[in-house]
Amino acid sequence: MTVPADLDRRFRDAAVEAHLLDAGYDVVDSPVGPLLVAATDRGLLRVSFDAGGEPEAALEQIARFAGPRVLRAPRAVAVAHSELDQYFAGKRRAFDLPVDLRGQAPFTISVLGELAKVPYGHTRTYGELATSAGSPKAARAVGMVMNRNPLPIVLPCHRIVGASGSLVGYRGGLERKEQLLRLEGAML
């Protein structure tokens, strides 16, 4: 038996309102493809490009960080959803969202903190980001942190490029990196 959409939606909303979820998520359409966006009571937990097809693996990863009560619940990510829509419409230059970085190493947290300060439409090199995180020789380690960034787009790892200005790499694919930088007017 298929559960009617309004009944299904009512349960999902009620679960959010009762604060019974370890994490709520939704799949958000965007110009760079569907994004799986997950949030906890503490803040935004995950933005993932692996939203197409079977989200099973992504859900299990979210559960490992937050706990097993992971439910698709649009209301849980409503603010993030609307800020992402504004960003992609060119109407938002900075995200105003608390983030949940539990389970991340201290070095990762400090690098992501510096990353968050790189302004819209600008780029930094891996080395520059390493320097501002207080570890000038750690450009490679910074590259690893960018590759595993749990909150791409919101924490703008697409703004971090190679010393020569080449794009180097992006977890979501170089095409998306270029697309995001063009959207921000950084690639001319």
Binding site: M1, R10, F11, L20, L71
Partner: protein, 155 residues
């Protein structure tokens, strides 16, 4: 030595797998109109207990037992007779407790549910408590007094 245990799946997976069957059970027991509220209550109860589950076995039996309890509560609130037994489902077509049924059918409903869930489905007392909407201690007590009652009857 314990067998390898199934991990607890993300709640979304559990919900997607069982929501349809839970709704069907509730509509059969309560009718279409009252089933909607009971559906929500069933999965909210499951959510409240879900992070205390220790392994992911027999989740279908577990959630159908919760649904049955919710239906019994709804009948009780409406002042309707509630003597019906919790409806304990087969697991994957395998009636795990069928051989015990002729014994357990005569037990009071709570004891019967506790005995069947504990010994038929091997659920732990946290899970049974959540299904029966009571505490783990009360579930343990119901199971052991059910077993005592059976033992008296057999010997």
């Amino acid at each position: 030595m314990m067998d390898a245990v199934a991990p607890i799946p993300p709640f979304e997976t559990f919900y997607a797998e069982h929501a349809g069957e839970v709704l069907r059970l509730l509509r059969r027991r309560l009718g279409r109109d009252r089933a909607d509220d009971a559906f929500q209550e069933t999965f909210l109860r499951a959510l409240r207990a879900y992070d205390r589950l220790t392994y992911g076995e027999h989740l279908r039996a577990w959630v159908l037992t919760i649904a049955t309890r919710v239906a019994v509560d709804a009948h009780r609130r409406a002042g309707e007779p509630t003597d019906e037994l919790p409806e304990l489902p087969d697991t994957d077509g395998r009636p795990a407790y069928e051989e015990l049924a002729f014994l357990t059918d005569s037990l009071p409903p709570k004891e019967r549910a506790a005995v069947v869930l504990r010994y038929g489905y091997d659920l732990d007392y946290e899970q049974i408590a959540a299904a029966l909407d009571s505490s783990p201690d009360a579930a343990r007590q119901a199971a052991s007094s059910g077993v005592r009652r059976l033992r008296r009857r057999i010997t």
